[in-house]
Amino acid sequence: MAEDTTLSPVEIKRVAQRALVLQSYILRRAWGVLYATLSLAIFVTVFVSPSEPIIALRITVNMAASGTALIAILWAFKRARETTEVSNAMAHRRWSRPLGYRSLVPTWAAIYAVLIMTVIFFRQQAVLAILVVYLVLAAYVYYALRLSFPLRLPPEGIAALSSLALAAGGSLALLPFLSGDPAPYVILWGSMIAVWLFAAAYARTRPFPVPTEGWET
């Protein structure tokens, strides 16, 4: 390794690309924590909180679960946000900070305000509103995955995203037909949670990226 010689712009760009490969590995591991936390939050929201007899307690459990997930999201996205700056610089795009707490926390609060109002004033529509929120979450996860992995989405990310979209979309489609029977929902959401837990384990156990020849000068 030749050290302490002035690097050319092409060499700097090659180093930046190597840094992005390494960052992609770091981000996959961070997303692993996010898949696990989010799947547990969805498990509590879908299976544990509906069994609470008092609605205020149900909302509290629900908010505690999603609040924990929000903290995990902010932690994982903190790194994604900084990565976006470097990857955008390499891909000639604008530098952006779209995943910060300034946008996520008010969005989370607004969603809960809408959900609580729906439960109070339009109770019949509460499940519909929750399913729409999950579809919005799927869209957001897709957006965040694209920012974290601009070149190619990791397979576990595709699997997690597809299962969430399928569970939320499938539940919405089934809503008018199977209002009294929980079994299809249990299958849909149970499978989704299993896929997310598998995605978490897969992301956390990925091998270290082997350096390609010639990245260093």
């Binding site: 700097i12 760009k13 180093v15 840094a19 390494l22 390499m90």
Partner: protein, 114 residues
């Protein structure tokens, strides 16, 4: 107002960018691909442990310390020892100067379209 492409095509702007890039790349602390890699990784992560940096760069302990010392002398990073659960870890943090330098470097390279 000229757009990004207009500025990139402007020969005067390109010359000025090349001049400032040459000056920046002449900085002794940036005359190493490993140090530039460390600086970019820290720009993306703000703070990392030296164990994490060793794993990512493939450097030995002494070699990493040498690189970090040069970056710290230039004011790009700061290191400190943190004790948790009875074990002392070294954490490396990028400074504002380091962040600005790395961002400027990448922006200049972007504007040159290399």
């Amino acid at each position: 107002m000229r757009g990004e492409a207009g500025r990139r095509d402007d020969p005067d702007v390109a010359r000025a960018t090349i001049k400032s890039l040459k000056k920046q790349l002449g900085d002794p602390s940036l005359k190493s691909s490993t140090r530039v890699l460390i600086l970019i990784l820290l720009t993306m992560n703000k703070k990392m442990s030296s164990v994490e940096l060793r794993a990512l760069t493939g450097l030995g302990k002494g070699s990493l310390e040498n690189h970090l010392e040069k970056l710290a002398t230039a004011g790009y990073v700061s290191t400190r020892n943190v004790k948790s659960f009875g074990v002392t870890h070294q954490t490396v943090e990028v400074t504002e100067k380091g962040l600005e330098s790395c961002r400027t470097l990448l922006r200049r390279i972007q504007s040159l379209d290399v």
